[in-house]
Amino acid sequence: MSLANQSVNQAAAAEHGLSTSEYDSMMSIMGRTPSVTELGIFSVMWSEHCSYKSSKKWLMTLPTTGPQVICGPGENAGVVDIGDGLAAVFKIESHNHPSFIEPRQGAATGVGGIMRDIFTMGARPVANLNALRFGDPDHPKTRHLVSGVVAGIGGYGNCMGIPTVGGETNFDPAYNGNILVNAMTVGVAPANKIFYSAATGIGNPVVYVGSKTGRDGIHGATMASAEFSEDSEEKRPTVQVGDPFTEKLLLEACLELMATDAIIAIQDMGAAGLTCSTVEMADKGGVGIELNLDEVPIRETGMTPYEIMLSESQERMLMVLHPGEEDIARAIFEKWELDFAIVGTVTDTGHVVVKSGADIVADIPVKPLVEASPLYDRPWEPSTPRPVLAPDTAMENKDPMVALVQLLGSPNGSSRRWIWEQYDHMVMGDTVQRPGGDSAIVRLHGTNRGLAITTDCTPRYCAAAPETGGRQAAAEAWRNLIAVGATPLALTNNLNFGNPERPEIMGQFVECVKGISAAATALDFPVVSGNVSLYNETNGEAILPTPVIGGLGLIDDIDQTVAVGFTDVAQDVILIGDTTGWLGASAYLKTVEGRDEGAPPPVEFEVEKRNGIFIRDLIRDGAITACHDISDGGVLVAVAEMAMAGNIGASVNSSGKTPLLAWLFGEDQARYVVTTKDSEAIVSAAKMHGVSATIIGRTGGVALTVDDTHTISVKALQESHEYWLPNYMAAP
């Protein structure tokens, strides 16, 4: 790092990514010329990644409270009450830039990082999910990126023994130069024993545990905040290598120590490593911390204080212990063969003071550093509404079964089995709904209750109408939880956008957040944690706006849940919700007709809630035998997916609804397909609740048939659905 030898002036600050005004405010806080180490600390603390300077104003508008919320955004992860003395701890986190540079290690360390966020709070991780966005399948880099990212996610989660139970995967040329790798972890902890990061108790020891510190990822945090350009290959050595084995030991050691009363505060070292964890712990506790770098376990010789403070070596934690508990803690970490070092003390100075040898290499007042962290109200442009398309916009004489096969076999519509079979999705023995359904279900160990988990976002809607897209992403996650029989509890979100300094991108951000906010409020689905990833663009080409929602729901009895697959023949197939034939921004138009046109379907929360609660109650009453929410590809794709999953055919009757293609493939929201043995009861109950319910078909046979004229075997559907991804990945 040549930077470490520079004297600090405005040019050096600029190289660290500080603007002129940021430089000035640093100078006025310090009242003197800062050391290089101090500059490094300012630069990472004020980076987009750590300070949320472009997004904070808007994040504050999200609803974050509710009777179920134990801890909202601001800590390592969100915490919700799940009853019986337990809490679920969950969050989603991006590792986009590192995964583009080195897909395997980038994705792996992303998974490692989010799991640390969860067990830092005292929760044992019980499930991982991953939301992935790749470029055009024909782009020369895509295959290599898919293979590396999937291997990295699997490699880390599998080794840790945490099941990876779900996610989503899209391809679009907008991600050619900037893939998205968002990883989510859910953990479970005793509700009365959540660990937080506020350092307290003047004189208490500050302890470092985990792996040794090396020169990994120095400036990773600032890298994650800078737009990509052709020369970003130069930034390669900053990639970290993950060691899931060490993280597994760290998990077990931390949970073992947490079972004692030794810990006052704990914080994982993620982005900006020791700097960020120290400053945050001090800030949250309103105290100072003095660090002695001579005590930090070091992997390489000759590391400078600058490097030690900024290293992003993985699998490390910082803790404040009760005095006198050091030996108990040390014994546990030694048992697990991990480094343990007392590296500092809590002080009353309100400063973070860093010593190395006889020198004080940094002495920064915490409060001004955190509070003066820049906040921007970036200019934003509202999006231009797209026209609403009429239902007869679809090609008149397209054979629906040909379109269906095209959709199910397309890059975005095909089965993700090739991916999830590389993930251990069963370890820990509690995965009661595996990947492939609407939500995964993970049983709470030793009970008959469970958590439903999903991730969702439809970027093409967000691009067409960001606010609707934001509403839809949150509503779809909510719907996916409902569709297995869960009560949605709360959400986490990963806001992936381009360069916020461009008003049109900032506009996408603002409108998506407005949409999520409206949905979260209306659906009692508060936001308890999240992550923002900006500057996702290469040479000025931004990704599609991609606000990924991770949803969590609670299941009181896992025997009162359903899955997507048809369970028997001779059952009625019922469509719940209103169908107008909304083809604007649909998968059908895009995939089958190559048209990216029209306004996306509106999301009406009153209808959403009415239909959703109706469905959930049906599931709880055992009134339905299968359920699938309707999303990409509309009714026919949903029915086909149910047929494929259950290996049972069905006949579908449009009852002369026209235009047929719009009825079959339109993407009106708030809809579900269910099967039942007693449709009369459901139809009349629906009437009572003001929910629209139409019998559209019957299960049975080995084929899917529409209006007795169009037909295709379930086997042929399965073959085309399962073919694309493995075949694509097998090609050289």
């Binding site: 080195e102 395997r104 090396g214 990994d216 050595p237 990639v239 290598v241 060691d243 992997r299």
Partner: protein, 88 residues
């Protein structure tokens, strides 16, 4: 890929982690050696060894070709270095 006994050359490629890059495998091997009571073992690093048969005769051309292979496939140059030996 066919097995050609007529290959005129062999290339041996060593792929090692760059200095400073964490090597969890090497670390685990080092631990295990210590547990097996091997004394005085310092750092342990693990890399890959790839042997190729090349159906050509000019060692310099072969070297250039294998170097190209390393850059494009064999090594992950983000974190790995390579060394090539051509055996005639």
């Amino acid at each position: 890929m066919t097995t050609q006994t007529s290959s005129a050359l062999k290339a041996k490629v060593l792929i090692t982690l760059k200095n400073g890059v964490l090597d969890p495998q090497g670390k685990a091997i080092g631990h295990s050696l210590a547990a097996l009571d091997f004394k005085g073992v310092g750092e342990v690093r693990q890399g890959k060894f790839i042997e190729l048969e090349l159906n050509q005769t000019d060692p310099d051309a072969a070297y250039a070709k294998v170097e190209d292979m390393c850059k494009r496939l064999l090594a992950n140059t983000v974190i790995e270095d390579y060394t090539i030996e051509i055996i005639t």
